[in-house]
């Protein structure tokens, strides 16, 4: 029974996604070994990973949805809920904390009207905490979309976020 249901779900992955996942599978001994890559591929195409995507990927990789969801939910950069166009990852780990990330967070919240874990109503930004961006020497740091911002001052928040989105 599970088989027939999951069979019907496979098509929810696009040709392109399947092609990229297949390319990963070619490098590993078990299909399920590419679970993380497959999640990343789907997220790249859809912005996030839905329950349906979890089932589709799982069935394609011969694993249970439960098992894959365990992996997906373990990683904070796999988004199991929709996110805005750009994700703001604000580091609040030790170096950034010493260098004042709390102030940055306040500024962002003032400007965008969102707390950690929330998305602006115009869907442009989602604000998330992150434990390290690998740039402690330039603390405090944050990432907006693909772009890393170093030595961020509270005063530069408005510029970085384009002065947009009023609360």
């Amino acid at each position: 029974m599970t088989e027939t249901t999951s069979m019907q779900l496979v098509p929810t992955l696009s040709e392109e996604e399947l092609r990229l996942i297949d390319a990963e599978i070619a490098h590993v001994p078990y299909r399920s070994a590419v679970a993380i890559d497959a999640l990343k591929i789907v997220q790249q195409h859809r912005g996030w990973v839905s329950d349906e995507s979890i089932k589709a990927i799982a069935s394609y990789l011969d694993m249970s949805a439960d098992e894959l969801d365990g992996i997906a939910t373990f990683y904070n950069l796999i988004f199991r809920r929709p996110v805005g166009d750009k994700v703001i990852l604000l580091c609040n780990s030790i170096s950034c904390w010493i260098k004042g990330c709390d102030g940055l967070q306040q500024k962002i919240t003032e400007q965008l009207g969102v707390q950690f874990g929330e998305t602006t109503s115009d869907n442009r930004y989602t604000l998330l905490p992150v434990t390290c961006l690998g740039a402690c020497d330039k603390a405090p740091v944050m990432m907006v979309g693909e772009e890393l911002h170093e030595d961020v001052a509270e005063s530069s928040i408005v510029r970085i976020l384009g002065g947009s989105t009023e609360p």
């Binding site: 078990y30 329950d51 979890i54 089932k55 694993m63 249970s64 949805a65 439960d66 098992e67 894959l68 969801d69 365990g70 939910t73 373990f74 990683y75 904070n76």
Partner: protein, 919 residues
């Protein structure tokens, strides 16, 4: 044996163990969570911390380092401290941090009073909470009718997923998220798929997974009265601990038996006892008048009627393979051997007797569960074990891990190094081959699963045997038989399993032939056969193959040769096609039925005597490995219900039956049976008789904290009645007495000071995971034979499908194929309506899709269709024991037609089936 020093005291310990299990075996209290005796160590919870010293100087200087007991091998000269301040403080801090998010809701938690987390918290002395932050609150999931989910109580020990996935092979439970948010559940709500999910109740050390049927009808462990019992769900005979309160069976826990079921039960066994509370239970004896009305009578009148019907009359009797040897034996004494049918159909009689004879003759070792787990190559012929002998399937699932242990041994890793070994082996397994008519629930760990018609399953077995004998075919990788033969020959402990469930005597013979061929080739093979019911094998030992079958009795009924037919605990409409049951029950003979539940058979009876069931009486059952085991009443039957043996004995006394003169008590019957039936001579050794006293008193069924006894019946009367005396067993309906040091067969519950949960079991074991101190319960009646099968058997002709006909193959379901468990709350919600399984192409050809109705042989049965492409071509699977399938027999050939006017069976309303077992 290495000597280690703990807090200045030297101990000799077993080599190869870890410090935690060594400490527990020594009787030292070392707290733990994630380690489990059956699952080994992963070092996840950090609760078992101790200080290890490098040397004596290190110890004197008070240095040393914190290590995890469960991850530390014991080695000669090692020095540890359990009691040192540092170790204690560490352990206290661990409990505190594991409980940061715990809701402290013990008063409303079903685990309370038998909670390992409570015990460990007290053990480490943690009292004051320092955390002042917000706690996480999780959303719980619906996991089906058997288990309750309350995630807030989780301490993230990972036992549940390790058990469910790694041990039991389930795929639909996982650890989600990370750090403070970790969540153990399913991807989305839904019924847990594993047939062994219920063990989570005992595996989870907190109240996350609890028994839902208990939660709906709740009593704390300390208020439960319990007794050693044996599961009547199938032939495995798992040892159980049912608990009672207010005359109701509340729950069933595992009773450890190292050779039968270890730490685990299947869900049919754990949740299948609820029929005891079913409202279809008969309360009073009754006489059916000529007008068909059922009139209750008291038990003296009932007995007189019974005796009257037996006096100077031609009496025959039908016994029951699902009740005790003693009741069956008495019934046989009452009517005489020639008139006693064991309750088998002809086919069943052939199968069960063949299973018995082949095992008696075979030079193979009849495997107990530990031996099954130790097998390094397994061949299963014609069985879907998970659905026919579930606990055995769980053991076979462990056997495939022997490859991993072998690899680990090469690296010097002990078997308890669970994470390391799983990492090392990945998915490499010892070979398991399954040949069956359709998919089975062990296919996921099988090297090969062959779906064949029953004849071809047997043929394959004979080919394997021939390949082994001939030597030449072995390793011929072109044929399945050659590959299987090679794998079995390469193994050190090969195991062959077959059974009666496919209805094929040849499968049994083929399995025995493989075992014999292996023995001939110098191996010491193991052999196992499943049998249909809890006492099938005992019944065969009692009666042999010459006893009249149901068909033979029916012929006598047809000829009017039987005046009175006694039917013991056997619903013939469940067991046989309606036509045969009608011949037996609706001839001119007067029917007297002794049974617990109202059913179609009791409805046909002139006189009905309400019988006690497994939880209300003592009895001896013989399991599939030929082990005689005793079960004891957990509580006494209510009202006019009596154990069947009591009814029968009283009737014999009333009749002045000569063989009953010396029989007064249950033990007398057991002894008389052992003396009369050579094959059963050993049954008296199954457990001590009623004279046994433990340090001068009987063993209590109630824990010393049993509360509210004076108030329990206050709604009926404020006068507390005297506790009933138990004159039949070494157990007492009392809190007084000693529950320690007794023989293994007499363990009514586990509890030890400081250990309120089931984890206290290690205090009753000779060593952690080892046999009970009082010895392993039960008596094996089958030794290894020496002769081997007497005659060479020719393989059956291979199966050729006939156009337009289908051969019926039996498909068993853990929930639904067994009569009584299917009437229990929880399980009854999981039982499907009767169905047939057919290949997609066959269905298509008949214009059928999933869920349509199909008519078999013009009127034989009309059932819902399931598409299953694993069914062999030309075959049609049918759900054994389900509604609407009683007329079907494995091996029969049927025609099919799309049913007109088919209506899908209505959704079951569970309370209808469980008879309001819980509300």
């Amino acid at each position: 044996m290495p000597t280690i020093r703990i807090d200045g005291v030297e101990y000799e310990v077993q080599a190869g163990k870890n410090l935690l299990e060594s400490c527990l075996s020594l009787g030292l209290d070392l707290p733990y969570f994630c380690w489990h005796p059956a699952m080994g160590s992963i070092g996840a919870c950090r609760q078992c911390a101790v200080v290890q010293y490098q040397s004596e100087e290190d110890e004197q200087a008070g240095r040393g380092r914190i290590v995890m007991g469960c991850m530390t091998p014991v080695s000669d000269g090692a020095i540890f401290s359990l009691d040192g301040d540092r170790a204690r403080e560490f352990r206290e801090a661990i409990v505190e941090s594991l409980m940061l998010n715990h809701p402290h809701d013990c008063p409303v938690c079903a685990e309370g009073g038998e909670c390992h987390l409570q015990d460990m918290t007290v053990m480490v002395g943690h009292r004051d909470r320092h955390y002042r932050g917000r706690k996480n609150t999780h959303r719980n999931q619906y996991l089906g009718p058997l288990l309750n989910h309350e995630m807030n109580r989780c301490i993230a020990c990972y036992r549940c997923t390790r058990y469910y996935r790694d041990y039991a092979g389930g795929t639909d439970l996982a650890a989600m998220a990370a750090h403070d948010h970790v969540y153990f559940g399913r991807h989305e709500e839904g019924i847990l798929e594993s047939e062994f999910a219920g063990n989570l109740v005992e595996v989870c050390p907190t109240g996350v997974f609890t028994d839902k049927t208990l939660v709906h009808d709740y009593t704390r462990k300390w208020d439960l009265q319990s007794a050693p019992s044996v599961c009547v769900g199938c032939g495995v005979g798992c040892n159980t601990l049912p608990g009672e309160r207010y005359g109701r069976l509340k729950r069933i826990h595992n009773r450890f038996n190292v050779e039968v079921n270890g730490y685990f039960l299947c869900d049919r066994g754990r949740f299948g006892g609820g029929f005891v509370n079913n409202q279809q239970r008969l309360d009073y004896p009754g006489l059916r008048g000529d007008d068909g009305r059922y009139n209750a009578v008291d038990h003296h009148q009932a007995l007189q009627h019974m005796a009257e019907a037996c006096r100077n009359a031609r009496v025959a009797a039908i016994g029951s393979p699902r009740t005790s040897i003693e009741a069956n034996f008495l019934l046989r004494q009452l009517v005489g051997t020639d008139n006693f049918c064991p309750g088998f159909t002809e086919l069943e009689q052939t199968l069960v007797n063949l299973a018995l004879e082949l095992q008696q003759q075979s030079s193979a070792v009849i495997a107990d569960i530990r031996s099954v787990e130790s097998a390094d190559a397994v061949l299963i012929l014609g069985e879907d074990l998970t659905n026919t002998a579930p606990r055995l399937a769980l053991a076979v699932r462990q056997s495939v891990r022997n490859k991993a242990y072998e690899m680990a041994a090469g690296l010097g890793l002990e078997t308890w190094q669970d994470a390391a070994i799983r990492n090392l082996a990945q998915d490499r397994r010892s070979p398991l081959f399954i040949a069956a008519s359709g998919d089975t629930r062990l296919d996921d760990v099988a090297e090969q699963h062959l779906s064949l018609a029953p004849q071809d399953v047997a043929r394959l077995g004979f080919e394997v045997a021939a390949a082994i004998r001939g030597g030449g075919g072995v390793g011929n990788s072109d044929t399945a038989a050659g590959r299987i033969a090679a794998a079995l020959m390469e193994a050190k402990r090969p195991l062959v399993i077959s059974g009666t469930s496919s209805g094929s005597p040849q499968a049994l013979q083929a399995a025995a032939a493989v075992a014999e061929a292996l023995a001939g080739a110098g191996h010491r093979p193991m052999l196992n056969f499943t049998v249909p019911e809890a006492n099938s094998l005992g019944q065969a030992m009692l009666t042999g193959s010459a006893a009249p079958s149901l068909e033979a009795i029916a012929e006598r009924c047809d000829r009017g040769e039987i005046d009175t037919l006694l039917v013991l605990e056997n619903d013939l409409y469940h067991r046989t096609p309606a036509a045969l049951a009608d011949r037996l029950l609706h001839s001119d003979s007067a029917i007297i039925a002794v049974d617990g539940l109202d059913n179609r058979t009791t409805s046909a009876a002139r006189l009905v005597l309400p019988a006690a069931n497994f939880a209300e009486t003592e009895g001896t059952l013989v399991s599939l490995e030929g082990r005689a085991q005793r079960h004891y009443p957990v509580f006494l039957p209510q009202g006019e219900r009596r154990p069947s043996w009591v009814w029968l004995l009283a009737c014999m006394k009333e009749l002045g039956h000569p063989t009953a003169t010396d029989l007064h008590q249950f033990d007398d019957i057991t002894r008389a049976c052992a003396a009369t039936v050579p094959a059963l001579a050993g049954i008296t050794g199954a457990a001590p008789d009623h004279h046994f006293l433990n340090v001068g008193v009987k063993i209590p069924r109630q824990p010393h904290r049993y509360s509210g006894r004076t108030a329990m019946r206050a709604d009926i009367s404020v006068h507390e009645p005297k506790q009933p005396e138990d004159e039949e067993s070494p157990l007492a309906f009392s809190m007084e007495g000693l529950n320690r040091w007794q023989p293994g067969a007499l363990l009514p519950f586990v509890w030890a000071p400081g250990w309120n949960s089931n984890q206290s079991l290690h205090r009753f074991q000779s060593e952690v995971g080892g046999p009970l101190r009082g010895g392993t319960a039960g008596m094996r009646l089958l030794g290894a034979g020496t002769t081997g099968p007497t005659a060479a058997i020719d393989p059956p002709p291979s199966f050729t499908p006939v156009e337009g006909r289908w051969q019926l193959v039996a498909r068993h379901r853990i929930f639904g194929s067994e009569e009584l468990s299917a009437l229990s709350p929880g399980i009854c919600e999981l039982v499907e309506p009767g169905f047939v399984e057919m290949r997609g192409a066959d269905a298509h050809g008949l214009g059928l899709t999933e869920g349509d109705g199909v008519e078999l042989d013009a009127g034989l049965a009309t059932l819902a269709v399931k598409i299953n492409d694993s069914i062999p071509p030309g075959c049609l699977g049918y759900a054994v024991g389900h509604a609407g399938t009683a007329n079907l027999a494995a091996g029969a050939s049927v025609s099919l037609a799309k049913a007109t006017n088919w209506q899908r069976p209505p959704q079951v309303i569970s309370t209808d089936r469980s008879g309001g077992g819980h509300v």
